[in-house]
Subunit: 327 residues, 2 copies
Amino acid sequence: MDDIAHATGVSRSTVSFVLNGREDIQIPAPTRDRVRAAARELGYRPHAGAQALAKARTDLIGIVTDIVATPFAGEIIRGAQHAAWARDKFLLVVGTDGDPTRVAAAFEMLLQRRVEGIIFATQANESVTLPAAAREVPTVLVHCVSDAGDFTTILPDEEAGGALATETLIRAGHRRIGMINLDPWLRAAIPRETGYRRALATAGVAFNPRLVRVGHATAEGGYEAARELLAEVDPPTALFCANDRMAMGAYDAVKEAGLRIPGDVSVVGFDNQEIIAAFLRPALTTVALPFDTMGATAIDALCAPSFGPPAVTIVPCPLVERASVGR
Amino acid sequence: MDDIAHATGVSRSTVSFVLNGREDIQIPAPTRDRVRAAARELGYRPHAGAQALAKARTDLIGIVTDIVATPFAGEIIRGAQHAAWARDKFLLVVGTDGDPTRVAAAFEMLLQRRVEGIIFATQANESVTLPAAAREVPTVLVHCVSDAGDFTTILPDEEAGGALATETLIRAGHRRIGMINLDPWLRAAIPRETGYRRALATAGVAFNPRLVRVGHATAEGGYEAARELLAEVDPPTALFCANDRMAMGAYDAVKEAGLRIPGDVSVVGFDNQEIIAAFLRPALTTVALPFDTMGATAIDALCAPSFGPPAVTIVPCPLVERASVGR
DNA sequence: CTGAAAGCGCTAACAT
DNA sequence: ATGTTAGCGCTTTCAG
């Protein structure tokens, strides 16, 4: 900046003002132009770090997550990145592999970096306990809840999602709808089934406990559960699988039984794991876990004019229609 | 720091020295202890930004990628994050959605942030052209090549991967091995097939052009190609699919033909998209695209004592053995 | 309308 | 062995 001040014959402050486009300061247009020209010629590039120091604003937001190989982490980073970029904020990401020691270290490092907020996200919808440092900076939880329950939290609307999946099947004319659920200790299992029951009740369909099985969240489990369901005396004509992996297994069972999807049995999944859902044959209609939206929502919360008291935001799970529902 | 200097009755420099653990400066142990104690009591937390300004080292590394929903971006970020953390570096991530304008903007922003290096990674192994700013900072390409070819580049060893997949099948006793390849304009298609042919040749198996088909990189394509292959007069007993999605489709075709995997036909995939490979039934043996390793390798290159002239590093693609190969 | 000057929080010669 | 001092690159108040 000194260089360009000298080159232009003005002071550093003037340079600062015009480069920051401060129209509130009266500076003749010709001067402004000269400054800008000099800046360009000299290849001036502002030093964000120095600006941050002077302004006491880093424009940095941290995101700590138990990054694993599922696309979930990628999606939430993507959503957050997008929203952050729109606000001229940058994302500092640190993965913890779920190690609590690293979580604490991550928070400490981010605080030293003077991030303006931290997003703490997990793959699985679970209960977590944050390091004390989390209270020293705006922190929002994504896809998990705090034991103490005193953090702003972004959660997917699992129950509405379960209902949506079920309604989709009902609307297609199905009444005998089987559900293959996750193991009950997975937090998402309960609300997804609650949604299923609610949709059934709303449609005036009696709930039949024989029609719900647990598939252990794996393709193998989905296969077994679907086989059982299909072996019932009056088998379901539609299956709501509480995740796409189980739906993948269910596909196998249906096909093995000589049945067609969606001709003989319709299937709806949950999670929208693109790689599975989009490429299963036929492509799987499923309820999406809106990770990108949650990531963006977290940024919005963090960047809000005033970061308010703890609140819970429930993000809807949209239906992604593909080709596995029919009739 | 001033506070702790006053509290301890020493100067700021002394505080700086002990807090930075500079043993080369002679300071009596008791003084050191007092300083550290005061720091703790006052809840002192170093300001990384100020340190960066003073030291002219930000410890920041940028990563720009066309983040999409595949787990690839997540894996490379994970690998890079890991390696960066080990070196006390932080990752600034920006996604571009493949938009060239944003790529240029991303580089500019990262340079303003004074990152010490930039990783440019793409989902698909492709040819890219980087903005001019890329020359102003150590930059390494991951999973893509530059038109000009003058950047340090990290690439997977696709050819060795193709050979590895094929050898795996050969070693299991197969001689009639079909290959379902990607569309030829996908950069990975050529080397994967070259590897296939090389492995065949090495094993003394004649190459039979009727045994290789193109599956368009989709499950549907894999299904069609597998059906054709299985309909040959002397059908293959093993299938090497150039990606896991096509393997997924191939599974369907094999099962539909009343054949078993791996009893009647063995299958090997490529990419190791965990979500597919690990949950297919039977789980798919596949060659992994080592994104995390590539990310880590990129960090290593960037952090090397002296960032050398452009070089290409080829990272091996390891075999992930699961349950689809037999005989 | 423009410039001087005082920081932002920290490091590192250079003196003492 | 410890303190003084001069920055790092930029913003911003306050005079002029």
